[in-house]
Symmetry: C2
Subunit: 376 residues, 2 copies
């Protein structure tokens, strides 16, 4: 079975094998493993050891996002979240429920976020302390380049928090190039192709020091996570029991990442996956939701066929019988199905998947493959 | 390598094998797996489907404890935490940093918690809404029976939160017998002998309904976790990406748990492990920190030998070379080493471990094995 979802992704046999071991998380060998992982992630993120640090946190990307919002925003602070899709909505909700002030702005979700919109919003409200953005929005499949946003945030003297959960590892990230960036978060189970259960933050050390006492949550306090790593008695140790097997699988996944050529090679493979999928869908008479120019390399939404025989669950189940797992829920206003291009998969897999889609649509008796659109 | 630590524990080969698979957490087969796990845990906890529910949460026991404190305590509520050891201290800190009022009382950590102390404290302060207790305190190895505490909390009209992280599965738990109990929390990686990364709460449904809006954290809101499970579109699904492999390993661990005879059989095995260890240590001339009557079946602390050649790290490293991993840090005021009795291990393992301790002490040139005590 191959997973074509935007994470957890299909993993390599070596990554799976690393999960099937017992570990004592306070053991000295395990500490070394964690320290090595932190150093490797820092290098991939473009951080220097004297300005940035890498912090692991148990749990999922939402937990890392909440910890980032709580740690780097004081309780009275206000964050601007441009609503580029489902994960931006979630960031806004996490901040709001954590008692932070949130301002959202509606934007065209089917195109990259425009820096001018952010600059204008910051100019209009000097009380906004932070901007929160999603690098790769898995709701839509659009990539939002942090560089122009970071520049206007910096120019306005505000701070930036980036959710790079489905971006980091495949899309470029150089934390040193973004002085306004407090923290970028990601998880083990997306573009690094490891297992779910562990998240990471790449954070500015000066901001961690300045943000002590903000969090209002011991569990989600990155300043305390960092302070703990520096204590002689707990150097290099998670504060609480980590999913040790996931860290081990992540370490093996980093071996494969580096062996394969790092971020540029990973992006190239995902772009090839996306191209094979995009072209294949069009060749089948199906219509992707985004134009070729706007379509990112992580997730492709494809319009559901405008045929009475269409049924998403039936489609998903038939693909599953053929060895392909895709998402079984809608994430776009118009009915669509979505297919992930990330994970330990190749463009050959994507072509085989397209053939499976063709066969399944025929099985289902679908004659009209053109896009089903909502009435205006 | 066998882990003799209070979790993560040594797991069975079947449990490890379940980790080495890819899963899509929203897939219908995975939903079924989660629903089955929830129903099996509910039965083990003595809960009925109309009064109690089982809720999974990504992360470690501390996260589950914070979620329990945030959900079942309103922001102005006050919790009484008797300081029975390191994990009680942690519960108090989690509540305090979450903005809840906390009252602690010092108690004799080397004996089971006395109900009268709790009754008196509740009588003295009517503003205390909750009592928070640790069932099995892995700091000391003492078991604190919830039954008498639950009775006085009920009599005083207050509510109870139990941290059963290193107890549930091995020690008896019948949530239906404790009407004052809001929630009991535990993790996958202790007495159920699965992998770390996932925690669970067994919670009263009426209290979940009454506690909506308390949490001040979307991630740690059990009321929202529960509401999400009931929504037609997300029935039986984690809100956020779960450590799916850990859930799969937990399901296999439940198979083994039931095959072996459930909680009574698990307790019997751990008691036999503890007895073999306790007797073995005494036979070697070493001195456990607790008397036989007070020593629980989860973790045994043993006084460090009063010999200049003693060195905890050297001792731990030598045992590791022989295939045994124990904790490498002190958790008691006087120097000690601690050995876990839980996990997929038997009393034969414990006897082999005692022989290894004997050999290592000889290797280290330790002549005096009697207890090293702090100057009064």
């Amino acid at each position: 079975m191959k997973l074509l979802i935007p994470g957890p992704v299909t993993t390599s046999p070596e990554v799976k094998a690393a999960m099937a071991q017992d570990f004592a998380p306070w053991d000295n060998d395990f500490r070394k493993l964690y320290e090595q992982v932190r150093a490797r992630v820092l290098a991939i993120a473009g951080g220097a050891a004297d300005t940035h640090t890498v912090l692991g946190l148990q749990g999922c990307g939402h937990f890392a996002a909440e910890a980032a919002l709580r740690t780097f925003m004081a309780p009275g602070d206000k964050i601007l979240v441009p609503l580029v899709g489902a994960y931006a909505e979630r960031m806004a909700r996490l901040a709001r429920e954590a008692g932070r002030q949130v301002v959202t702005i509606s934007v065209d979700q089917n195109r990259p976020l425009q820096a001018k919109i952010i600059a204008d919003a910051l100019a209009a409200d000097p009380s906004i302390s932070h901007v929160g953005m999603v690098y790769s929005e898995t709701g839509t499949g659009v990539i939002h380049d942090p560089a122009p946003i970071s520049a206007v945030v910096q120019a306005a003297g505000r701070r930036l928090i980036i959710d790079a959960v489905s971006a980091f590892g495949a899309l470029p990230m150089d934390v040193s190039a973004h002085p306004a960036l407090d923290v970028v978060i990601f998880t083990s189970n997306k573009c690094f192709e490891a297992m779910p259960g562990l998240s990471f933050a790449v954070a500015r050390i000066d901001r961690l020091d300045a943000c002590k006492g903000n969090a209002g949550s011991w569990s989600f306090d990155y300043a305390d996570v960092y302070a703990n790593l520096l204590r002689p008695n707990s150097a290099g140790v998670f504060r609480f029991t980590p999913p040790a097997q996931v860290l081990a699988s992540f370490s093996v996944a980093l071996d494969l990442f580096e062996r394969d050529g790092g971020q540029p090679a990973r992006l190239a493979r995902y772009l090839a996956n996306k191209a094979a999928l995009y072209d294949g869908m069009i060749a089948l008479g199906l219509e992707p939701c985004l134009s070729r120019a706007l379509q990112g390399p992580v997730i492709v939404n494809i319009h559901a066929p405008d045929d009475a025989a269409w049924d998403l669950m039936g489609f998903v189940d038939r693909l599953k019988q053929r060895g392909w797992l895709i998402s079984n829920f809608y994430n776009t206003p118009e009915p669509s199905f979505r297919v992930g291009c990330i994970g330990a998969i190749t463009s050959d897999d994507m072509r085989a998947f397209c053939a499976a889609v063709d066969a399944v649509l025929a099985d289902m008796g679908i004659r009209n493959r053109s896009a089903r659109r909502l009435a205006a």
